[in-house]
Symmetry: C2
Subunit: 248 residues, 2 copies
DNA sequence: AAAAACCGTTCACTATCGCTAAACACCTCG
DNA sequence: CGAGGTGTTTAGCGATAGTGAACGGTTTTT
């Protein structure tokens, strides 16, 4: 079996991906970048335009907001999001920091909800995807995996480095995951973004994929007793609240 | 030329649309609904799964959050959004109501940003699409169209009714658009959702498609002097601020 | 002001591949 | 145990996605 049974869909999504990283693009530009013929790119673009995904303007093309609508619809349909919503908002106001709900998907930690206590730093926003092992919430999710699943993750995705503090050693990762399981708490000390820290608690639910919630912010505010005691207590109790409302 | 040069993309997006309206789905279920063979649906689903758009679980399939990421990326890339962000937030806090940034796309009013003063009513969220003529902001956008463009909109999209107050008559629409242009202000008195009102101001920018910002909320709070004077003043001055920062 | 160079669009062609229908493997029932 | 569900796989054919070249338009170069 070929890797992609419907090859045209792959081509199409390659075009969408190329468009998503720029404000707009021309046919030739995309054709050369993706190594396709101009005619083919043109066909895909007109198809996407007819379907309302792409907007054509003066012979140039850009992605519209249709995919945002679909994505938001998916997110709103998540039972976990619905119940985590208000606990997450309360956690944000009680800590006066940004909070997030994270689920695992295809080896990524995906931010399914983000509450900004105030100005967000724009590095983590709704929908952001980061390698699981580089974030507090991601590690809290990994800690719920079986040893085989963790190994499979390390094998397929690799322990990609993002900062000089990122865990890139499989043994260290296993050690940390054990600690996380024991203490029900995960830390991120600048492992995804330099200078950014986070505290996360796993959210375990029957018949649900593993998830986690986290509090994140600049390193200056995340230290001492606040980092070691205050934030952990608030995060864990919020996680408890979510688990309880969803297991009744 | 056929309507969709790359037919497989159309099939694929039909499957995505079907998936987006439910939590998950099976192959047979989708095949019967879309009038496709099981094998074809299966091919599309495995392709989407390999590409990270769909998540397979126990032989059932659901949309993942990849499209949300793409959609948010598109939104964040919009220059208008970036500059409207803080004025919109300020407008939300000064009115203590929800505010929105709306752009037109394929005949829809699309909510490119939504600030919730408090609990949102969930009927309008980020990415929501409504017919242009049914919302205050949408009408503020239509008022920037030429007469031909308005006629084209009425012709292709039709004046679909959403509530008993929706404008469904082309002549009434033209009259109202003229008033909106003159006063630089558009109202929605329950034309999209019964009991929901809004005040909107057009945002005109050179080299940018027409846009608008609006304040929206329950009808009880939107009446009298507040509706006729206070809110209009605040909305228009916010629109001014956006236009000025973007035309320098 | 030519003309060269670029663009997006269109066209004819063909090897590919998307789609169908049927068979298959697996599961859960009564 | 078989009957009726799944999701998956297969064989095969007809449609089509992609190519490469040509077309008309605009912009840039000379």
């Amino acid at each position: 079996m070929p890797d992609y049974p419907v090859g045209a869909v792959r081509t199409n999504l390659r075009i969408v991906a190329a468009l998503s990283s720029r404000t707009d693009a021309g046919v030739t530009e995309l054709a050369t970048e993706l190594d396709l013929s101009k005619g083919s790119v043109h066909n895909h673009l007109t198809t996407l335009e007819r379907l309302g995904v792409v907007v054509a303007e003066d012979g140039r093309y850009r992605l519209g907001l249709r995919l945002l609508d679909v994505g938001m619809q998916v997110r709103d349909g998540m039972e976990l999001y619905q119940t985590a919503r208000s606990p997450l908002a309360e956690l944000a106001s009680s800590t006066n920091e940004s909070t997030a709900l994270v689920v695992a998907e295809h080896g990524d930690a995906v931010y399914a909800d983000v509450c900004d206590a105030a100005r967000n730093d724009r590095r983590v926003r709704l929908g952001t995807r980061l390698p699981l092992h580089t974030t507090a919430a991601g590690k809290a999710v990994l800690a719920q995996y079986s040893l085989d699943e963790v190994e499979a993750y390390v094998e397929t995705d690799g322990l990609q480095r993002r900062t000089n503090r990122t865990i890139t050693d499989a043994a260290s990762l296993r050690d940390e995951l054990r600690t996380i399981t024991d203490r029900r708490l995960a830390y991120d000390r600048g492992e995804a973004f330099t200078g950014m820290r986070a505290v996360a608690a796993p959210v375990r639910l029957p018949d649900h994929p593993p998830a986690a919630i986290s509090v994140l912010g600049p390193g200056e505010r995340f230290s001492g007793k606040r980092l070691e005691e205050d934030l952990p207590g608030l995060v864990i109790s919020a996680a408890n609240q979510i688990e309880l409302t969803l297991t009744d």
